[in-house]
Amino acid sequence: MENYSENNPSEMLNLFADGELDSGLHSSLFGQMSESTELQQEMSELIAIRESVKNDSEAFAPPAGAKRAIMARIGLTNSHKVAPLPIAGGIASLFGWIRVPLAFAAIGSLMTLWIVSSGDDEIAIDSTAKIPVVSSFNTNELTVNVPKESFAGVITPSEAAVDKIVATSDGSVLASIPVDNDQNQFADDTEFASPNLPEQISMSDLSVASAKDCDCGSLNNSENNIISFNILPFAGVKDDMSNDLFVGESFGLTFRMSGVSSFSTDEIADNDIALQNGMNLGLYLPATSNLLIGIELGNEQFSQPFTEKKFGRDITYKKSPDVFWAAVSAHYTFNNDLILNGRIKPFVQAAVGGSESGVIWKCISGLQYNVHGRMGASLGIEYGGLGYTPENSFQTSHKIGLTYGMYYKI
């Protein structure tokens, strides 16, 4: 039919390229190729065509719903079983992945609580509690001891704004009383930190007797109650009396950035993992003195690899698009006065929301530093996850890294 001869160098070359040329003819072909630029050009063209065909992903990807349609047609499965909601697998996958950061947050929380509770005689009370001083001791005359050594090298008593004083009534009964700037009269009485602050101060000077409508119950569980106040290391800054984030009914803004990197997985090799920067803004309101609830809006890159089996091979598609997201977030600050006298406190944060690619979730744990009463900074470890659905299959992407930012109380 067609004038075809296997002795034609071009035809031999095609057979060779397809692995069909008899091995006895290889040397003959190679000899001719070495002398012919045309044959060499033909070989490179055949290779180029073959390599291009390998990248024809469109041809190797059956339509997404084809399998479901086929199985429904042949009656192998019920429609609801053929098309399972991705959310079921997604939730299982989500829990599988977030258990590590959740465990991390839980362990961090427990350690913090252990540190806080390790002060045997001090009872942690949140700083917004009303001051149960005088009424609990039935006296208007308490002796207040100022432990000057605790401020050594930081301030002098004459410069101090009083925030922490250990007071005793008769030397044996003590109670712990953190001070709230907005709800007690010490804030207005910082003048009592006179240039010559005595080691013994009469409690009546502190004008605490008026705080009688207090809740005293939480103080009665120790025989050696300690009355403690916080003295800020910065003099003359009344707003700094509050070390908590957004205490009161005001709301606060946060700005946070992150430098994180995707987990190494089967689909993302180590050398594919680049640092991915993100930023977000948050608006929070206090739910309790320690818990803030708010929303966060952010933008960041998220690796979204997808692997499917094609032609007996696993083919992975990789992309890391910018993702805009919005999430509901909860931020919990631990009561801990041990670091810089309470100016640095541990916190945990969790957020769940949505993005243009799919569901997004985050867990953060770190420390926040109250620079000023209205402003602070935070530094922590952030884990982020994204659920996305390429080709109708639920996939997840995860990353972990540092986060840092600042907050401002309005």
Partner: protein, 189 residues
């Protein structure tokens, strides 16, 4: 069932299709995962039309499943699937007219960016539509489905010698269509 379907041979899975519904479902899913890509690639590139390819692709697997219920000896599942697909594709081809002319290709060629890495693939796809059906089929079975000449012969029921000739001519024609681009490509290399 103690053995995982991923570890089973095609022929064992084919036998399982005659079993219970649960077994059938597992076996079918595994066979689909293994062979759907090459079957669809054949349909997609041989027919050139995504919608027709999707229909034929689905019909292929439906017929394949139906045939498993018959008492038939199976030796080569992918070849069998491709034979079904081929018959359906040929039937589909009989009812249509070619709608792409050479000038179409030329226009696209000159409007394209030579530096684009996908350019050659796009041109190959368009060039395939310009090939006669019997040449295009050989090319697709060889380059997309990776079949040997002998396997192509079995799938298409034509002699190996004819496969050689058609495949050679298919590639030659393809290179001729792509010549302007391939020449430029070699200059950039």
């Amino acid at each position: 069932m103690s053995e995982k379907t991923e570890q089973m041979e095609d022929i064992e899975l084919f036998s399982m299709l005659r079993g219970s519904k649960a077994e059938s479902e597992k076996a079918f899913s595994e066979l689909y995962a293994r062979h759907s890509s090459r079957v669809y690639a054949y349909c997609r590139r041989f027919l050139g039309n995504a919608e027709e390819a999707s229909d034929v692709f689905q019909d292929t697997f439906c017929r394949f499943y139906e045939s498993s219920k018959q008492d038939r000896e199976m030796t080569n599942v992918p070849a069998y699937l491709l034979r079904i697909a081929r018959n359906l594709c040929v039937n589909t081809k009989r009812g249509e007219k070619p709608n792409i002319v050479f000038e179409d290709y030329m226009v696209v060629k000159h409007n394209s960016d030579r530096q684009d890495k996908d350019e050659l693939l796009n041109l190959i796809k368009m060039s395939l539509d310009l090939l006669p059906d019997n040449y295009r089929e050989m090319f697709v079975l060889r380059e997309y489905d990776g079949l040997s000449y002998q396997e192509i012969s079995e799938v298409t029921d034509i002699p190996v010698a004819t496969v050689k000739v058609r495949l050679y001519r298919a590639k030659k024609k393809l290179r001729k269509i792509l010549a302007p681009y391939l020449a430029d490509l070699s200059q950039f290399e």
